[in-house]
């Protein structure tokens, strides 16, 4: 246990520039992911996010192999994946199999490309499991730009997006361009996922893109409160996970995933306690 939870020399570690970079990146990512995740949960898009993350990995691996910046490859892969899922899989039933097929192919392709790459091994591994060392100041600028973009798009399109995500039939009847919005949303997910991949890794993107929203949905049905809670959970997981990982020197993704899971578990407990109190329904 000593090696898993440790705060030895945390003060000095926190003073390191790359650690501070990582914390800023995590805070920004937590905000963006937290804002998106209640809508992801409402749309039932957990698997699509997972697929998007795997294709961000493929894009990153392709960039590594061809000598491009990994981040750009990841963004390209994720946005492309988001668009493909958005176009091909608007119907729920079809969507799962489309994602499964594309995901498997992308993952295989990525593994192959990593095997062909003869550079540093930590570069390879970082894509899958994430690494805070991967965050440098360029990443932060890209992250900030994307954050401004996502927040801006949400500020303009939040109500139609919520309408289309929770009540698509009536949204269509009221003239909401549901199909266009699902493509816009797919791009937002793609961008955010691509930025999450270097930090938490392709495999564990779900812990920041799904878990906070799923946890919040357990304790509130109010979209606004769910969004605020999801941002809080995402921040706790990402920033807290990063801090916890510092002294033991272990991968950040494990801590982030554990904290996100703890938030989810806690919310489930609250929900089940409330369900036993008869008045809880009207709370």
């Amino acid at each position: 246990m000593d090696t898993l939870i440790s705060f030895d020399g945390l003060g000095e570690l926190l003073a390191l520039p790359f650690v501070q970079n990582a914390l800023v990146a995590c805070a920004v990512l937590g905000l963006v992911a937290g804002l998106l995740t209640p809508l992801i949960v409402a749309r039932g898009m957990a698997f699509a996010v997972h697929g998007t993350a795997e294709l961000a990995f493929t894009g990153g691996a392709a960039a590594l192999l061809t000598g491009f910046a990994v981040g750009i490859g990841a963004v390209a892969g994720a946005v492309l994946a988001g668009l493909v899922f958005g176009v091909l899989g608007l119907r729920h039933r079809e969507r799962d199999s489309v994602i499964g097929v594309v995901l498997a192919f992308g993952l295989g392709l990525g593994v192959l490309m990593l095997a062909l790459y003869d550079g540093r091994a930590s570069n390879k591994f970082g894509l899958l499991t994430g690494s805070i060392v991967a965050v440098d100041s360029t990443n932060i600028i890209v992250l900030a730009v994307v954050a401004v973009l996502v927040v801006g798009v949400l500020a303009v399109l939040y109500r139609p997006l919520l309408f289309a995500s929770t009540d698509p039939d009536v949204a269509v009847a009221r003239g909401v361009p549901v199909r266009v919005l699902s493509l816009v949303f797919a791009v937002l997910i793609g961008l955010t996922t691509a930025l999450a991949v270097p930090i938490v890794g392709a495999i564990l993107v779900l812990s920041v893109m799904i878990a906070p929203g799923a946890a919040a949905a357990q304790v509130t049905a109010s979209p606004v409160r769910a969004t605020l809670l999801a941002v809080l959970f995402a921040e706790v997981s990402l920033v807290g996970g990063t801090i916890l990982s510092l002294a033991p020197g272990l991968p950040v993704s494990g801590y982030v995933a554990a904290l996100a899971f703890a938030c989810y578990l806690g919310c489930r407990v609250v929900a089940s306690v409330r369900a036993r109190v008869p008045a809880a329904r009207s709370s």
């Binding site: 209640p38 949960v41 409402a42 039932g44 500020a155 303009v156 399109l157 939040y158 109500r159 139609p160 919520l162 309408f163 929770t166 009540d167 698509p168 039939d169 009536v170 949204a171 269509v172 009847a173 009221r174 003239g175 909401v176 549901v178 929203g213 799923a214 919040a216 949905a217 357990q218 509130t220 049905a221 109010s222 979209p223 769910a226 329904r281 009207s282 709370s283």
Partner: protein, 279 residues
């Protein structure tokens, strides 16, 4: 059967179809449809599956283009997102974990199509949503997750959602499907009260006329591209339905109910509005 009291007034029809033809996948669903619905009038649309009832609703919503003819809502050509229209869909199972409360569902009916966050005017918005909830008796579960409500409660919210924007036309697409009798009565009563109080024109798609029979002014009966429009007493007869179905159909009156025999109504399949199949 009350005759439409408003048709005598000289007024723009709330909804109007002229020589309307709809084609879907190379097939003509119906052609030459003329229909004016006056403010406050209640028109039921009946017919077997695939006769184009839901497609008619989609035409009025501006989601399907007419191949010929014209469609007007409140005197203006039908278009997507027309504010004059309120829409009540059929009841559908919702995810119990859907992060949406009853009041959010109703609120989306008011301004869910608008851009921006709508932070200004929040108080006025809340008052309107509360009033709409109270009008359908839904205040008690306004803050409950919609996915955990019963089908009847959900449909009350649907009525509130459709009415909160104060529409001149109410389009209802099988809103009673999968509701029990008591809830069917509540939902139809709410719609009927509203059209009397606010002169709202109602177009009500249903496969079962009895729940709405007391309030129906006219029936549009669609079968395989053939149709008949008129008061229930004129359309819901053995002779007219036999002609429409081109087979022997008997309409029996049992107390205050109509029983139609011989139309081979099959079990219903869902026709969600976003689907591509004509209903």
């Amino acid at each position: 059967m009350t005759a439409p009291t408003t048709t005598s007034r000289i007024t723009t029809p709330a909804l109007s179809l002229r020589g309307a033809q709809v084609r879907m996948g190379g097939r003509t669903l119906w052609d030459g449809l003329d229909l004016d619905i006056a403010p406050g009038e209640f028109v039921a649309v009946l017919g077997p599956n695939g006769s184009g009832k839901t497609t008619l609703v989609r035409v009025l919503l501006g989601l399907v283009e007419l191949a010929r003819g014209e469609v007007r809502i409140g005197g203006r050509p039908a278009r997507r997102g027309a504010p004059e229209i309120g829409y009540v869909p059929q009841q559908k199972a919702l995810d119990p974990d859907l992060p949406l409360r009853g009041r959010d569902l109703v609120g989306l009916g008011l301004d869910g199509h608008r851009l921006g966050l709508g932070i200004r005017g929040r108080r006025a918005r809340r008052a309107r949503v509360d009033a709409a909830l109270a009008a359908v008796g839904g205040s008690g579960y306004a803050d409950a997750p919609v996915g955990r409500l019963s089908g009847g409660e959900q449909q009350r919210l649907r009525v509130a959602q459709a009415l909160v924007g104060d529409p001149a036309v109410l389009l209802c697409d099988e809103p009673l499907l999968s509701l029990d009798l008591a809830h069917q009565r509540t939902v139809t009563r709410l719609i009927d009260e509203r059209r009397r109080a606010a002169d709202t024109a109602v177009l009500f798609v249903t496969h079962e006329i009895n729940p709405v029979l007391p309030m129906v002014d006219r029936v549009l009966y669609l079968v395989d591209g053939r149709f008949r429009i008129g008061p229930p007493s004129e359309v819901m007869t053995s002779a007219v339905l036999s002609e429409l179905y081109r087979t022997d159909v008997d309409v029996l009156r049992l107390r205050d109910r109509l029983v139609v025999v011989g139309t081979e109504e099959h079990a219903h399949c869902d026709d969600p509005l976003v689907g591509e199949e004509p209903a």
